[in-house]
Chain length 241, copies 2
DNA sequence: CGCCTAGTTGAGGTAAGTCAATTCACGTGG
DNA sequence: CCACGTGAATTGACTTACCTCAACTAGGCG
């Protein structure tokens, strides 16, 4: 019973007691499904519930008035969807499933109430939110100061490391349902240039992204090229005991 | 006694009881001063304490191995310094004061202990952290999808709105100690281009940044040009009562 | 007085964007 | 079964936003 995605995720941050686990269990109200391509919620909407992604892929993004899109992050199983929206009581971004997805719903009211019963839970959530923020910061550095090829390499490595943490990837590579258009909007590039950069990395013998699979040809050379340091992703042993 | 920067900030998020206020008071251990230009802490260092900025300006940044710098955000009075570092137990970024600054120190251990005494405090901190994250997300959109002039305009407006919240600015403008080099590293531009863009905005009659003062010449035209929507900054009335 | 930092401007280079055409896989309907 | 449309990937030709290098000015300070 303890092996829901949420328990696994938070357990990595804070050692949870039986009492805390049972509070956590009661948070999972409903299991829901959403189809690929239809927004879970939209920027400007007020956030009533957050979700934990159980299976499938999604992405969070913002749309500019001229129609341009910036993807903030991709979500993989175990990740929160819309946690910030719940806390700020308004969504500053939209979330769209890439594949069909399964999620478990967490109501805002339940979450806040759970905090008062088990403060350590609040600490765990705060930890998870901080890790999410650290990822966004790394994306900022990526887009702000790296060129297109380094950016792509860094992105593919980060995604691989995150997938490896949930058993969906390794140093060899991983299955990846992202299109070049999605990559473009995540990396602040044009789709055409994404294509050229992928070819460049492939020709250089570093990574190959073909037909839904990312293959790391020379992992070490790639990490050096991209200046990839996975520290910010590490789920160390529980820090609160 | 209730009017420390931290109390003001958190009180905007969560209505705090007398008991909670007194816990909060005890958090403020020491008042410290740091001089301009010397790092408060450095990336890779383990975070033992966070600070609340009482006066002066600072910025958080990351350095790449080739010496390039990406500034993640600027901190003004009332902002946290290194909150994420404390929670992740390791700093993923550095912080440097721009001016001489005064801060109050909050020890990590005290903060976590306070959570267990007053869970609503944890909620308030989580709120504050979410707002910080929302700002970083907006910076990501800014750098990823806006051109240099829009980026600059958006940045100056955001800073103005934040300063207005703490009584240090208005729609007319504000005092601003940032150099063009700092702006460049925050916006992912070169210092030379920052100079040109500032001239362009000045010539267009939208903003003037001269000798440490930002003056909004035509506030409405500027917000439209930059697509600036301050929702993500708004400190609405306390949501938890 | 001379050095240093911040700002300013010009000339020329380049990384990445735009526009456009082609291919391929897939699904859908006549 | 084939015609057709649609979305994704690919590649070429051309444009451009921003960068780099470089020179010069002005203020602050030992």
């Amino acid at each position: 019973m303890e092996n829901t995605p949420l328990v696994r995720k938070l357990g990595a941050f804070v050692a949870l007691s039986d009492a805390e686990l049972s509070v956590l269990q009661r948070l999972h109200k409903r299991r829901r499904n959403f189809v690929a391509g239809r927004d879970l919620f939209h920027q400007g909407q007020s956030g009533q519930a957050a979700y934990i992604l159980a299976s499938g892929w999604a992405f969070s993004y913002k749309i500019l008035p001229d129609g341009q899109r910036q993807i903030v992050d991709f979500q993989i199983p175990g990740d929160f969807l819309g946690l910030r929206s719940v806390l700020l009581h308004i969504s500053d971004h939209s979330i769209e499933p890439i594949t069909n997805i399964e999620v478990t719903e967490v109501l805002a009211s339940d979450l806040l109430e759970a905090f008062s019963q088990t403060p350590r839970l609040a600490t765990a959530i705060l930890w998870a939110a901080s890790r999410d923020e650290a990822m966004v910061v790394e994306h900022l550095v990526n887009i702000g100061r790296r060129n297109a090829a380094e950016r792509m390499a860094h992105f593919l490595l980060e995604l691989g490391a995150r997938l490896a943490l949930v058993g969906m990837g390794s140093r060899a590579g991983y299955a990846c349902p992202l299109t070049q258009y999605l990559l473009a909007d995540a990396l602040g590039l044009s789709a055409v240039h994404v294509n050229r950069v992928l070819r460049q990395l492939r020709d250089a013998g570093m990574v190959t992204f073909r037909e839904g699979f990312v293959t790391f040809d020379t992992y070490n050379r790639l990490t050096e090229f991209a200046d990839f340091d996975p520290t910010y992703l590490d789920q160390v042993n529980p820090l609160l005991r």
